[in-house]
């Protein structure tokens, strides 16, 4: 039962107070979004005006400078960046989700010596700060000749991501044993059971992991900072940061236009996949 039933015990005044508090808190939360979009539609000069004329701007949509968007696109090759980011997202999502599913099935459903210890070890690697491994990993990739390519950003995801393995392990543990038993009796090997039974059943969890990974790769700034050299390979996150660094603090409208374009797909994705987002995070946190 939901604890929302609890609210039945709240007085009307307490509920009104709650509503008011939420409203008051929501406003500053939305400010950055509003500022980002409104600045992206101003001219360079308008940006320096005091608030009063600034708010007047809001009521004059015909003065909105949509031109900032094509300008930003021309200053910065956002098309290339988008292409690169999507490429990375697609490959890392595929790699992370599939490999994590395989590994999770192993932990959840199969027995082998030391399983508990390995699982615990895997979980504890989540506490290892990335700084510890950064330099040797860089040296490794350099030795492989992968510096300047996308490979350092893609390949590691094919070896499973502990967080997703954890999520999926929880999920696979809840699968009814009878399905697997029946398949085994019919002579199916473990791989087939996994591939044909467990995997399809875990679609919702897989989608959740895919969303997380997509978000993570879309957002990733440090990977490109370290490994990408050629500007034609830059991603949106890194490209945008470089754009900001090159501007000396002027050209805010264009920069905000870039930021809006960078944020928009994620926001849209969220609206479309709300339930999955929320469910995924909820499952991760609560079942501990």
């Amino acid at each position: 039962m939901t604890a929302a039933g609890d609210s039945l015990r709240l007085s009307g005044r307490q509920r009104a107070l709650t509503h008011l508090t939420l409203l008051v808190l929501a406003v500053p939360l939305m400010l950055p979004f509003l500022s980002m979009v409104s600045t992206s539609l101003k001219s360079d000069a308008q940006v320096f005006e005091a608030p009063e004329p600034g708010f007047a701007w809001l009521t004059a949509p015909w003065r909105w400078r949509w031109q900032n968007y094509p300008d930003a696109l021309r200053t910065v090759p956002l098309g290339d960046y988008l292409h690169n980011t999507l490429l990375l997202c697609a490959t890392t999502v595929a790699g992370a989700v599939i490999s994590s599913a395989v590994i999770a099935y192993g932990f959840a459903r199969l027995e082998f010596r030391g399983k508990g210890a390995w699982f615990f070890l895997m979980l504890s690697t989540m506490a290892l700060p990335s700084q510890v491994t950064m330099i040797p990993v860089f040296a490794l990739f350099r030795w492989l000749g992968w510096y300047g390519t996308f490979l350092p950003l893609i390949v590691p995801s094919f070896f499973g991501v502990p967080f997703y393995v954890f999520l999926l392990t929880q999920f696979y543990r809840t699968l009814p044993l009878e399905l697997a038993e029946a398949a085994r009796i019919d002579g199916a090997g473990e791989w087939r059971i996994f591939w044909q039974i467990a995997l399809p059943l875990s679609k919702p969890a897989l989608v959740t992991c895919a969303l997380f990974q997509f978000l993570g790769t879309w957002n990733d700034f440090f990977g490109p900072l370290l490994y990408l050299n050629d500007p034609s390979k830059y991603t949106l996150a890194y490209g945008l940061q470089q754009f900001m660094a090159s501007l000396y603090g002027g050209k805010w409208p264009q920069l905000m236009a870039g930021a809006t374009l960078f944020t928009l797909p994620i926001v849209l994705l969220f609206f479309f996949a709300q339930k999955t987002f929320v469910r995924g995070i909820a499952t991760s946190g609560s079942k501990n």
Binding site: P77, F141, Y147, G148, Q242, A245, Y248, L268
Partner: protein
């Protein structure tokens, strides 16, 4: 209820609009053309990184274009890497990662550090004896100080940067001051500057008359500096340095530390048109010689004059710090030959007259006297008399160059931090300098113990 009917409809609308917006986004983004690919794919590519942005980037592109047109063996492909606080990191990553550019234009004090880490290729290796001779004959002393380390040339300067004071006679006249009588001492200048300040009702600065800042630049003016070239040692906490830092902090305090901070943070660093000097936010300001060219381009009617920083009592005339834009070639560059051709082209080692034009476009001071003496450059000086101040500074003995020590980057960072800490009033100037010396000593000791500089 209505709600139950709306839900599937709402979902439909939502998913359709999602698809539509994705399509629009993609179409929009891909429709706008990206950066052009190579124009001469059959030639040997020479990768060139630089830190210029905005319209300086355009100037660089023009120079690169000229180079590509002047010969048909190489094609220089230029990349602008913004001069953020960690641009050196990008270069180092590239060299460390094994995929460096062939040549890079830098202006930060990195030559000794990178040379010692065996990241740079000595340019002597790429020069013919005649070229080497010509460089050492024609380069200004400060250019040699910047580019040479342990007797080998690691960076060829393609422009020296010098700073001086730009001022608006109009503001002076407004305040009943004679613009022809520019103060001879720093103290007088500060007093004059105070007369030109303007504030608004809130107490915010609306126009700043004059505020000396930047410890690194003023230290030589006070007779100090960070390195003694004859004794070959660091002079971080000399009495002159302390006087300088104390004075700078005092000037700032007089206006109010808080007030100044707010004022400064509202100004953008002013690439070209937005330079606050043009809009009159500063009456007297310290800036580099490249502003002359920008003023000519973007504010041709603006009345301004240039003067070197007047020394305080006991200070030095025609003093200041300089640095250079120089070209370096990484050790693992794939086409060092192409890199050298490009460097020769730009610096004027191969053709001073031609290179003089480039220098005038960017408002750069040449490193080679042959370029300065060329007709093109002399004509430029005739057209912009204010530029002469910079050229005079260039040959002054009191112009300091960065110290040629292997931990130059570290030192530059520490000096900046010291400057900031003192300017914010967090530490007294005495303590700030003392901390600086201590940190540098520790670093030197660390390097010794860890066998830096040894194979």
């Amino acid at each position: 209820m209505d709600r139950d009917l709306l839900r599937p409809l709402a979902r439909r609308v939502l998913s359709l609009s999602f698809v539509a917006s994705i399509v629009l986004l993609f179409g929009f983004v891909f429709a706008v053309p990206g950066p052009p690919a190579r124009r001469h794919p059959e030639r040997i590519p020479v990768r060139f990184w630089h830190m210029w942005t905005a319209e300086w980037k355009d100037i660089v592109d023009r120079i690169v274009l000229r180079f590509n047109e002047s010969q048909d063996r190489y094609e220089v492909v230029a990349l602008s890497v913004p001069p953020s606080s960690n641009v050196d990191a990008k270069f180092l990553l590239a060299v460390a990662g094994g995929d460096p550019p062939d040549v890079m234009a830098q202006w930060k004090p990195i030559i000794p550090t990178w040379a010692e880490s065996h990241m740079l290729r000595p340019l002597d290796d790429l020069m013919s004896p005649a070229e080497r001779q010509r460089f050492f004959d024609e380069a200004y002393p400060v250019a040699k100080k910047i580019g040479v380390y342990e007797n080998r040339l690691y960076g060829l300067p393609i422009g020296i940067n010098v700073w001086a004071l730009y001022y608006r006679p109009e503001h002076m006249r407004e305040a009943s001051l004679d613009p022809d009588k520019f103060p001879e001492s720093l103290e007088e200048l500060v007093l004059l500057g105070a007369k030109l300040d303007k504030k608004n009702a809130h107490g915010d600065i609306v126009r700043l008359g004059f505020l000396p800042g930047w410890f690194g630049m003023y230290a030589p003016v006070f007779g100090g500096g960070f390195y003694d070239w004859s004794a070959r040692e660091l002079t971080l906490d000399s009495p002159a340095n302390l006087r300088c830092l104390t004075y700078l902090v005092e000037c700032r305090k007089r206006l109010g530390l808080d007030v100044v901070t707010r004022f400064e943070s509202a100004q953008n660093a002013g690439a070209s048109v937005e330079w606050p000097f043009i809009s009159g936010v500063f009456s007297i300001t310290l800036d580099g010689q490249w502003r002359v060219e920008q003023l000519a381009k973007y504010a041709p009617g603006l009345e301004y004059r240039v003067a070197p920083i007047p020394p305080p009592a006991g200070g030095k005339r025609f003093a200041g710090s300089s640095d250079g834009n120089f070209m370096v070639v990484p050790v693992t560059a794939k086409r060092p030959d192409g890199a050298w051709e490009f460097i020769k082209f730009w610096s004027g080692l191969s053709d001073p007259e031609r290179a003089a034009a480039f220098h005038t476009w960017g408002g750069w001071l040449p490193a080679l006297s042959s370029v300065a003496k060329s007709k093109t450059y002399q004509d430029y000086l005739a057209r912009y008399p204010s530029f002469r101040v910079f050229v005079d500074l260039l040959s002054s003995d009191n112009l300091a160059a960065p110290a040629p020590i292997p931990y130059q980057v570290f030192l530059a960072d520490r000096i900046t931090a010291t400057d900031q800490a003192a300017m914010r009033g967090l530490v007294t100037p005495t303590d700030a300098l003392r901390d600086l010396v201590r940190q540098v000593d520790e670093e030197r000791q660390r390097r010794r113990v860890l066998h830096y500089g040894e194979p």
